[in-house]
């Protein structure tokens, strides 16, 4: 009796979120999945006829007349994945030591610092990226400064290069890496580190055998949260990457908004999603704490 009522309560509590996700997450996702197998309409939209050339264009079974195989799509996807991986790595390197430093600050300063980390969210991403444009352009702040102190003879060409894109992505993603990392580091029991030293482990051994495994959930969490939006990001390459800096996200955006080839855009979306899923599942299962 009681169990049945518990079930009813549980169902009632879960209904809103189920409905919300069902309507606003699953339906669009299914729409995209279905679209990716439909014929592109002449002026955008779709025609309801099965059409596998969308994937053929990407993977190489195009008919060569209407649809042409372009290896560039896979290349761009590969580049997006590697850029995202570099972004994750750089964010990790930047945030990990800082997380330790912040976790040892007095309570008051910790709060100040956490506030500072979330400060960028208070202003528009586009505005902040245009600020980077001003910093990185040949006559921008960075070059003026380096020229001023005589470190370089001619302005550095950073803007519209992969460096600028990665720089911008790291800048955007740092808070997303920092917060889960900080949570893990802050939860780390100091007595575990002491126990490790006490039992004869050196600093390096303690880091490798205790600190790293204990903070691994934060590392995995932060990496996942940074990796997923990085692969699909199209705003940063749009502003800082220029014409050569096309990324997978830009491709999708173009197909939907400029080329008006919805099914092909949908096929690219599905591709990005499945690759990201495969990468993440591999990453997370590989990194799960091993028992020795």
């Amino acid at each position: 009796m009681a169990r049945r009522r518990d079930r009813l309560v549980l169902a009632a509590l879960l209904t809103p979120v189920t409905l919300f996700l069902g309507v606003f997450f699953l339906v669009p996702l299914l729409t995209i999945a279905v679209f990716s197998f439909l014929t592109p309409g002449l002026y955008g939209g779709v025609e309801w006829a099965f059409y596998h050339w969308n994937y053929g264009r990407i993977f190489g079974w195009a008919d060569g007349i209407m649809e042409v195989f372009e290896p560039v799509y896979l290349r761009i996807l590969g580049r997006s994945l590697s850029f995202a991986a570099v972004t994750v790595l750089l964010c990790l390197i930047l945030c990990y030591p800082v997380a330790f430093w912040v976790s040892r600050l007095p309570e008051r300063w910790r709060l100040v610092f956490l506030f500072l980390i979330t400060l960028p969210f208070f202003s528009s991403l586009i505005v902040r990226l245009y600020a980077w444009l001003l910093i990185l352009k040949p006559s921008g702040l960075l070059n003026e400064m380096l020229l001023g102190i005589g470190l370089i003879g001619a302005p550095l060409e950073i803007l519209y290069t992969p460096t600028a894109v990665v720089l911008g992505m790291v800048y955007v993603m740092v808070p997303f890496m920092f917060l889960p990392l900080f949570a893990a580091v802050d939860n780390l029991d100091r007595s575990l580190i002491e126990a490790s030293y006490d039992l004869g482990a050196t600093r390096f051994q303690t880091f490798r055998k205790v600190i790293l495994p204990q903070t691994l959930p934060g590392i995995v969490g932060g990496s996942v949260i940074v990796f997923i939006p990085s692969v699909g990001n199209f705003i940063v390459p749009d502003v800082l990457g220029g014409a050569k800096g096309l990324m997978a996200g830009n491709l999708v955006e173009q197909q939907f908004l400029s080329a008006r080839n919805w099914p092909f855009g949908a096929a690219l979306s599905m591709l990005i999603m499945s690759v990201v899923l495969i990468v993440l599942v591999t990453f997370v299962t590989r990194l799960r704490p091993k028992e020795g």
């Binding site: 126990a195 030293y197 039992l199 482990a201 495994p213 204990q214 028992e291």
Partner: protein, 356 residues
């Protein structure tokens, strides 16, 4: 007793939030002999944990010397000191199995796997956890975690095992059982134990020697019996066990016995040796030193606390006077509250505090 650990003039102070400095160790000399069970006992903030952590290497001394086997270890980092600690929170590695926790010291010390596994089995066996190696610490009870922490700390055969209030989280029965086991283990291992606690009962049960600390200094050290029977200061007398203290002035001498008189006019018989009339002293009488008798100190029972086998009686010689604590066997004829009884005691057994 051969000197194993030798601490001389240890000083350590900490900054207080108010901006001042507080001395956690204020000139401590301590010796620990090989195979000795030494307990550092004192209230919180007395410096006992700081002293322990300066032996393990987690606190650097501001001044003073720490020698182990005659070698100055003051500058060595914790991982180079041949001492191991059982932490108050156990500090088990949650991401490792019990076996890997226990074998950690050997793992980081580069001991081969086969040898390590043999030692882990042996250590788990010693603490009564044979067969628990594959489990995770989170799957164990508090008492079992305690044993894992113990096995982990002894596997490397440290010169000294440091224990930082390891029993404080256990319930009473388990704590008493562990006290006995620790003592047995220490005897079998032949390792010196330095045990920190604020629990006087724990200290009395296990120690070869108790070191009573107060405000960064050693107040008194000696065998449990010595500390209990012959406290040197009022602080030690009050901290170790229940006690009655009487501030008396010697009124007259009657042969072997001196008669002391308290401010309230209560007269007590004291061992007379070395006392002169007019001398002030503090007499220590444990609740169990008193017997209910036909003759002696006339008192009225004011309160009675039932403890099972014993009764904790509070008695006063005169209304509004000092309350005397008396332990009596519970029996059918035990005095009720309000009863007039007499307290007898052996004058020779009364302990006098020095310099009081």
């Amino acid at each position: 007793m051969t000197g194993l650990l030798e601490i001389r003039g240890a000083r350590r102070s900490f900054a207080t939030p108010e901006g001042g400095r507080i001395a956690a160790l204020d000139g401590v000399d301590l010796d620990v002999g090989a195979n000795e069970f030494v307990t550092l006992l004192g209230p919180s903030g007395c410096g006992k944990t700081t002293l322990l952590r300066s032996i393990s290497g987690f606190e650097a001394l501001d001044a003073g010397v720490i020698r182990l086997d005659g070698r100055d270890i003051g500058a060595l980092p914790p991982f180079r000191r041949p001492v191991n600690t059982v932490f108050q929170s156990y500090a088990l590695f949650g991401h490792m199995s019990v076996a890997r926790n226990v074998g950690y010291a050997l793992e980081v010390g580069g001991v081969a796997r086969a040898e390590r596994e043999r030692a882990v089995t042996e250590a788990l066996d010693k603490v009564g956890l044979a067969g628990f190696g594959a489990r995770r610490p989170s799957q164990l009870s508090g008492g079992q975690r305690q044993r894992v922490a113990l096995a982990r700390a002894i596997i490397g055969r440290p010169r000294i095992l440091l224990l930082d209030e390891p029993l404080s989280a256990l319930d009473r029965n388990l704590r008493q059982q562990m006290q006995l086991e620790l003592k047995t283990l220490q005897h079998n291992l032949g390792i010196a134990f330095v045990f920190v606690t604020h629990d006087q009962e724990e200290a009395l049960t296990m120690s070869d020697r108790i070191v009573v600390m107060r405000a960064g200094r050693i107040e008194q050290q000696g065998s449990p019996r010595d500390i209990f029977r012959h406290p040197r200061t009022r602080f030690v007398a009050e901290f170790i066990g229940e006690t009655n203290l009487f501030d008396v002035t010697v009124d007259r001498l009657e042969g072997e016995v001196a008669i002391g008189r308290t401010a309230e006019g209560l007269e007590l018989r004291l061992p007379g040796a070395g006392l002169t009339v007019g001398r002030r002293a503090t007499a220590v009488l444990r609740p169990a030193d008193f017997r209910l008798a036909e003759a002696g100190l006339p008192v009225t029972i004011t309160r009675s606390v039932y403890l099972g086998q014993d009764l904790n009686l509070f008695a006063t010689p005169a209304p509004g006077g000092p309350e005397i604590r008396v332990t009596a066997r519970d029996a059918a004829d035990a005095p009720e509250v309000g009863a007039r009884v007499h307290l007898a005691y052996d004058a020779a057994a009364v302990h006098l505090l020095e310099g009081a």
